[in-house]
């Protein structure tokens, strides 16, 4: 099953590498969001430093929406999804593969954005391990729930507008949890970062399981 997932993920990533949408369009967009935050908060470095964790995750969520749309678009084009269903790959593997591809893309964007944030918002990290682990787990949660909701919103004419209102409320725990862990890791807020890390793990596990079970149901109807 894992080998099949890897095949699917590699396919998506290859499409991504060839089209360069992530590097040419989505990454500059993230940068723009960060600059806009700077404008909105009046170029006040102290405020930016304090709110950096929240701003960072808001930017990631907005960018994730675009990446998810991309992933669905690949499948919608040329009836690729129907052909994928004709292969003997199980729907759980397809789900894991698509999530993995999305996860890798998001992680690349996160690393990029992290350095942008360090420079522009003048942040310093006190607990690098917590930052790495929580970002990893939060991204798993975003990737799995995003893949699941991506297919729910797929195939309808209004996908671009439907996906955000379906997905963003669901991601509320990730938005809060990841912001708190980063706040703790940056030494900005007095929160128990590892407890929040646990919440992110729960979220990631719940959505991985839900996705593996319901993805097949959602694919069949197409």
């Amino acid at each position: 099953m894992l080998a099949d997932s890897w095949l699917i993920a590699r396919k998506d990533l290859q499409v991504e590498i060839r089209s360069r949408i992530i590097i040419n369009q989505i990454a500059p967009y993230t940068l723009l969001i960060m600059v806009l935050f700077g404008f909105a908060l009046d170029a006040n470095t102290q405020t930016l430093r304090d709110t950096a964790p929240g701003l960072y995750w808001v930017a990631i969520l907005l960018v994730a929406l675009l990446a998810i749309q991309r992933g669905v678009q690949i499948e919608d084009a040329d009836a690729a999804r129907d052909r994928m269903l004709l292969t003997p790959v199980s729907s759980s593997s397809i789900f894991l593969g698509k999530s993995l591809a999305l996860f890798v893309q998001l992680l690349v964007l996160e690393v990029l954005l992290f350095f942008v944030m360090m420079v522009l918002f003048d942040t310093s990290v006190e607990d690098p391990l917590l930052v790495c682990l929580s970002a990893f787990v939060a991204t798993v949660g975003i990737a799995t729930s995003g893949t699941l909701y991506g297919v729910i919103a797929s195939g309808v004419g209004v996908r671009e507008t439907l996906l955000p209102i379906l997905l963003l409320p669901v991601l509320a725990p990730v938005a809060i949890g990841a912001t708190r862990t980063f706040g703790d890791a940056f030494g900005r807020v007095n929160a128990d970062g590892w407890a929040w890390f646990g919440l992110l793990v729960v979220f990631a596990v719940v959505y991985t399981v839900l996705g593996m079970f319901s993805y097949g149901q959602l694919l069949e109807e197409e």
Partner: protein, 260 residues
Amino acid sequence: MITTVGPFNATSSRSTRFLGLCLLLGIPALILFAFIFSPEDDSMEDAVRLLYIHVPVAIFSYIAFGVTAVGSICYLWKRSRWWDTTAHASAEIGVMFCGLTLVTGSIWGRPTWNTWWEWGDVRLVTTLVMFLMFIGYLALRQVPASPEARAKRAAIVGIIGTINIPIVNRSVEWWENSTLHQQSSLTDGNLENLTLFTWFLGTLVIGITYLWLLIHRFRVGWLETEEERLGYGAAIEERQAEAHGLDVGSTGIPEEGENE
């Protein structure tokens, strides 16, 4: 079963008329009890009178979302249109009740907590996220698709939304770890009889309102699918006539506007 269609009794039956009659008597009675007969609260003064609508509406918005979750599970299990229509109907009423909960709560919070909104409050933020989640659910249901595909997607979103509520609740609780909401005052045992009676009356009246709306909304939903299916069937026949027996009906998702 009704035989004549009057101006407004199209989706009504003997049971809904009875419930409607109860409401015509119950709502004025509730207003009288809430505003005149019940005493004012020691600490909240007259602001307590808002709670006679706020709390029942909140309770029934949770119940409504619960019914949606149960309907969604039963739909996936039995694949019956009855459950699908019930889940949809309940979600729509739930969203309206939830919106009213937030609005009346906000209005009540201003004189009592001296703020319209409190980010640190667990129930407030959880309710808001739930509200937004079910608005998304309703938006999904508006999307043109084949009835079966739409029902399945909506059921999955309904179930996931409900599973997500405890996670949201937990996260908000840790976030600020505080609530301005007082513990249930009903268990204190020192409420005056009239206050207690008004609480029960409010819950009863809002409960009947929910039931009455649910039955009507269910029937409207049922008729909508019937109408959609009539139009859908006609469109397919038309196309089949054009295409000389080409099987158009198996494409699953109809084109936009086809089922309007």
